[in-house]
């Protein structure tokens, strides 16, 4: 056996190996199941993903997806960080916080175009007058904007982290509470709280209109499965578009997920939530569902959080978005 022969054989073997590795990687990517963990229990906030699964959009896109909801006390991000899931929904501020904290994330689909957070105060009081009040905030990490606002407006709220806020608020243990306009807002109404122009503070109307829900993956996972991520994102977007066009059928699908997980909610609440979530997906300026992260909003959120020392460094739009082909 000559060296050339050996070399030729070796080259052939290397070529075969490289080829095998390539095919194996491609096959591995093809077979990979994306565990998708929305950041909350089953509800209409995630209607588009349920639709994509129920109507077979994931299957059509060639993506195996398993939707796995978190528990009330374990944030979805923990699961992503622990590689228990490959994709999750996060609010933009959360994502900035996590990226700033050293975990690179990629936004593969932005659904929310508007901010939904509100402060509801008890006893028909203006939240802006409740200096030093005890205000409920989610233990799983939403509410960065509220903290910024509290500092900026020198309200010095005492933040009380909770897993479930309605009962605390109703029992009088809290002076005010943060709420999402599509979720807790209606839960509070359902608990008999009267909403007036006075006792509800909407962040989007006070210069804090920062986008919220988007679908994120770790940068590593994204880079290793770009095509998979693209198809997954595409299927999700398709699910949302279908939901916007078929709200009644979408609601049926949502209720299937809700009932399966025995979530203590009802059809009325979920209908209201779906309507509100779909409304929030329409960009105020263009009047369209754009499904894109806005650079200006990323910059605004980042500046706010930097100013109030909630970020240790600046996180840019480019860090969150990887253009296709790059």
């Amino acid at each position: 056996m000559s060296i050339e022969h050996l070399t030729r054989k070796l080259c052939g073997a290397v070529a075969c190996f490289v080829l095998f590795c390539g095919v194996a990687k491609a096959m591995a990517e093809e077979d990979a199941t994306i565990v998708f963990t929305p950041q909350w229990t089953a509800q209409a906030q995630f209607a588009g993903y349920y639709v994509a699964e129920a109507k077979g959009f994931f299957r059509e896109a060639g993506v195996k997806v398993r939707i796995d909801h978190p528990s009330a006390t374990q944030p979805a991000m923990d699961r992503l960080r622990n590689n228990e899931c490959q994709a999750t929904t996060l609010q933009l501020c959360q994502a900035l916080e996590i990226v700033g904290g050293g975990v690179p994330l990629v936004n593969i689909l932005q659904t929310s175009m508007n901010n939904a957070m509100v402060i509801v105060s008890a006893r028909d009081k203006d939240p802006l007058t409740l200096k030093g009040a005890r205000v409920g905030i989610w233990s799983v990490g939403f509410g960065q904007l509220a903290i910024c606002m509290s500092i900026k407006d020198q309200l010095d709220y005492q933040w009380v982290r909770f897993a479930q806020n309605v009962n605390l608020f109703v029992s009088g243990a809290l002076d005010a509470t943060l709420a999402m306009s599509y979720n807790e807002y209606y839960q509070l109404m359902q608990a008999g709280i009267r909403m007036t122009d006075k006792n509800v503070y909407r962040f989007c109307e006070h210069g804090y209109n920062v986008q919220e829900d988007g679908v994120y993956m770790t940068r590593d996972y994204y880079l290793s499965h770009p095509e998979l991520a693209r198809r997954f994102a595409e299927a999700c977007r398709k699910g949302w578009e279908w939901a916007a066009e078929h709200p009644d059928e979408t609601l049926d699908i949502v209720m299937n997920y809700v009932n399966r997980d025995r979530i203590a909610t009802n059809r009325v609440l979920q209908r209201l939530m779906l309507q509100e979530v779909l409304r929030l997906q329409v960009d105020r300026e263009s009047g369209k569902r754009e499904f894109r992260l806005r650079q200006d909003m990323v910059r605004q959120a980042c500046d706010l959080m930097l100013e109030h020392k909630m970020l240790s460094r600046k996180v840019t739009y480019e860090e969150l978005i990887i253009e296709q082909g790059k």
């Binding site: 528990s71 005890r134 909770f162 605390l168 243990a173 809290l174 109404m189 359902q190 203590a264």
Partner: protein, 796 residues
């Protein structure tokens, strides 16, 4: 409908029965309304009492258990705080809670993060009871972890934030092993260190499944149900299990506002106790609610109104049906009874109709009843007999009355026949037009008017007898006859009236009287001589409307010795004398207002302005005016009007000649020559001329002989006026007043020796001349002799 009303109106029995039944129905309605109202109130009160008892019982039971939990928890808290440094003992205390209290579900003694450094971030001594085949077992573990960060959950946060023990909102606990859910509520109180800082929470839970079974089983009524809501309005007990923990009492109101439901929810949330009536899912219901101890939960019993008042409504329907049927039966019975009672009345009614048709002798039914109907029957029989009697008398009276009426009618015709009635009465006259009308208020009247021509004079009168009817008419007839009789001999109106007055007054036993106006119009000259005896002054329609000036004389018939005054006026051509009785100005309308003199004058002026003063037109206009005024009112007095229009002032004297002679009979030849000359001019035949000479001579000699006192000088003037149709001699002297026309006619049937001396001369004059009239004017005796120029008296 109309026929039913007509039937009811015709049937007294139906009408009375309906009234009775309606009255009874009103009493029933009032009584039953009160009864039903009271009964309903009672039923409502009973329902409230029933529901309240259940609620109280349940609430007490819950409170009993809760008190036990609170006491046990308090004791354990005391132990924990006494041994706060020993983490392991917490497991013992936690377990001990369940060991010592068989119905406690679980117990956690949880601490702030990193309170026990060796346990790290989480420390929660958690014991839970499990049901096993060999009985219950208790498992104790450390319950905190990344997957269960207890310090963010309600049971931990609430006592810390509220800084006081509290009961959490019920929640469902899923037992993963058995996949069963347990409804729990927890009593939590914060643990304090020696500095009083909160360091953890002790949480004891009890199952509410037993409560759920009790409350769900509360069914005071067949379709009633119970609910329980938490502090946030969440349903924890509801017959629709899909709503439990998923919906709140306000969920429905998010899409469809329901103020009643919202109010109920808020009241229950506030822990109030009470009752509300409202519509739930389309069913009118009563909701009784009460808080369950200190749990913050509230329980409500929903009772459909149809259930609460079901028995009451059935009773009400049954009673109403009985009342309706009873009233109907009552109506039928009353109609039948009253019809029977009134049946004799119907027979009487038929008999009355028979009697009314003229059969007065019809036989009435014999009735033995002694009640009102019997009395009516007897009275009816009496009435029938009286009726027969009275009808007979009425027939006689009617016949008598008819006779009197017939007589009256004849009398009326006679009375009217006395008066001139054919107008124009003298159509060939071109110097005067006369029209008159008399409308008596009764069949016969007391008004009169008359007129006639004598020579060239028009004699007329109008009068009004006091009173009305037959006496007045008789008086009127007498008056009119006397006027005719007297006026033949008298020329001057005052003489006529004076004579009439004397005659009437002497024979007047009834104290009646008559107002009278008598006038004599000298047609050739237009001079009007008149005498007014208390009558309405006539109107003169000439250049204007004026009232003829009249002296105040008393009416005729009072005083026989009254001397009536004579008045004179000149009537110009075209002037109408309008005479009337007081029936004209005193005509009354329906309101008894009078037509009045002013209005008479207004109408006269109107007639004059319209050139309608011609007698017939004037009286027509006046009649029309008074007719419109009176309208449909009954005529109150006789109404008489007479109008005389003097048309032409006669000035047709062809030739006028006069002679003045002294009172000496020697002058008679001169007179005769004068008369002859005039008669020739008049064309009289010689024989006629001789007669006229004789008559004039006789009259003049009378004057010469008797007018002046003996041996006194006087004159007599004779004026001759020749006209187309007559020759007039006017003898005037200033001697003593003497009217030769008043000399009675001699009885020429006697022999010359038997006759009284004198009187023949005037008789001769009357025989020869066609008209002899006398007047006393300006202290002169004026005797007018007229001889008409007829074919027989003048030469061809």
């Amino acid at each position: 409908m109309k026929s039913i009303i007509t039937y009811i109106r015709r049937k007294l029995s139906v009408r009375i029965s309906l009234w009775v039944v309606m009255f009874a129905a009103l009493i029933f309605i009032a009584a039953l309304s009160f009864l039903f109202y009271q009964a309903r109130e009672e039923v409502g009160t009973e329902a409230i009492s029933k529901a309240t008892q259940i609620l109280d019982k349940t609430s007490l039971r819950v409170e009993g258990i809760m008190n036990r939990v609170e006491v046990a928890s308090g004791m354990t808290k005391w132990l924990v705080e006494r041994h706060i440094s020993n983490a392991d003992s917490m497991f013992v205390y936690s377990r001990g809670m369940l060991t010592n209290n068989a119905d406690f579900y679980n117990c956690s003694i949880a601490f702030e993060p990193y309170f026990f450094q060796k346990w790290g971030r989480y420390f929660s001594a958690y014991s839970k009871r499990f049901a096993g085949t060999g009985g219950d077992s208790i498992r104790t573990i450390q319950g905190g972890s990344d997957n269960y960060q207890y310090f963010y959950v309600d049971w931990y946060l609430m006592p810390m934030l509220l800084d006081q023990p509290c009961w959490t909102e019920p929640y469902m606990d899923l037992d993963v092993r058995t996949n069963t859910r347990e409804m729990l509520t927890s009593y939590c109180q914060s643990l304090k260190d020696e500095q009083g800082r909160s360091i953890g929470v002790i949480n004891t839970s009890i199952s509410l499944n037993w409560l759920s079974h009790i409350i769900a089983g509360v069914k005071p009524y067949p379709h009633s149900y119970s609910i329980m809501i938490g502090r946030g309005g969440t349903y924890f007990i509801h017959p629709d299990t899909t709503k439990i923990t998923r919906e709140t009492i306000f969920t429905k109101t998010l899409e469809q506002p329901d103020t009643a439901l919202t109010a109920l929810g808020h009241a229950m949330q506030r822990g109030e106790e009470g009752m509300k009536r409202m519509n739930i899912d389309g069913v009118d219901s009563y909701v009784f609610y009460k808080p369950l101890g200190h749990t913050g939960c509230s329980m409500a019993i929903v009772c459909p109104e149809s259930d609460v008042f079901g028995g009451f409504n059935r009773l009400r329907r049954a009673v109403m049906a009985i009342v309706y049927i009873g009233l109907l039966l009552m109506l039928c019975a009353f109609i039948r009874i009253i019809t029977n009672v009134l049946s004799p009345l119907r027979r009487l009614a038929n008999e009355a109709e028979t009697i009314a048709s003229g059969q007065f002798d019809t036989q009435l039914p014999v009735m033995k009843r002694i009640d009102e109907i019997g009395q009516l029957s007897h009275s009816f029989a009496d009435m029938q007999q009286s009726l027969v009697k009275y009808i007979g008398e009425l027939k006689d009276t009617t016949a008598q009355k008819a006779s009197i009426e017939r007589d009256l009618h004849i009398a009326s015709r006679i009375q009217m026949g006395m008066l001139p009635k054919a107008f124009p009465t003298y159509p060939d006259r071109d110097d005067v037009q006369i029209y008159a009308s008399l409308v008596p208020a009764k069949e016969v009247g007391g008004d009169l008017f008359d007129f006639y021509f004598r020579g060239e004079k028009l004699f007329f009168c109008i009068g009004d007898v006091s009173g009305k009817g037959v006496p007045a008419s008789l008086f009127m007839a007498v008056t009119r006859s006397i006027f005719r009789t007297v006026s033949v001999h008298e020329t001057m109106p005052e003489r006529i009236v004076t004579t009439m007055n004397k005659t009437i007054a002497e024979m007047n036993k009834t104290q009646m009287f008559v107002t009278l106006f008598v006038g004599v119009l000298d047609l050739p000259t237009g001079e009007l001589y008149y005498c007014n005896a208390g009558h309405d002054a006539p109107l003169l329609l000439g250049a204007g409307v004026s009232t003829l000036a009249c002296d105040s004389n008393i009416p005729v018939g009072f005083m026989p010795s009254w001397n009536y005054s004579l008045q004179k006026t000149q009537i110009s051509a075209g002037t109408t004398i309008f005479l009337f009785t007081d029936g004209l100005p005193e005509a009354e309308d329906a309101t008894q207002a009078q037509f009045r003199q002013e209005r008479v004058e207004e109408v006269a002026a109107q007639a004059l302005a319209q050139q309608r003063q011609e007698p017939q037109q004037l009286i027509g206009l006046m009649s029309e005016a008074v007719g419109q005024f009176v309208g449909g009112a009954e005529q109150s007095d006789d109404l008489t009007m007479m109008a005389i229009q003097y048309i032409k002032e006669q000035d047709d004297v062809w030739q006028r000649k006069s002679i003045v002679l002294p009172n000496d009979v020697q002058e008679v030849p001169q007179l005769n020559a004068f008369v002859e000359e005039v008669c020739e001019a008049a064309g009289f035949q010689p024989g006629v001329t001789l007669q006229v000479q004789l008559a004039v001579e006789e009259a003049v000699v009378n004057v010469m002989k008797y007018a002046y006192l003996p041996d006194t000088h006087g004159h007599v003037t004779v004026e001759a006026q020749l006209r187309e149709n007559s020759l007039t001699f006017i003898l005037m002297d200033s001697g003593k007043p003497f009217d030769p026309t008043t000399v009675p006619e001699p009885d020429i049937t006697l022999s010359a020796t038997q006759r009284a001396i004198g009187g023949l001369g005037m008789h001769l004059v009357r025989q020869i001349m066609d008209s002899v009239t006398y007047a006393r004017e300006d202290h002169l005796n004026v005797l007018t002799l007229v001889k008409e120029r007829t074919r027989g008296s003048v030469c061809n």
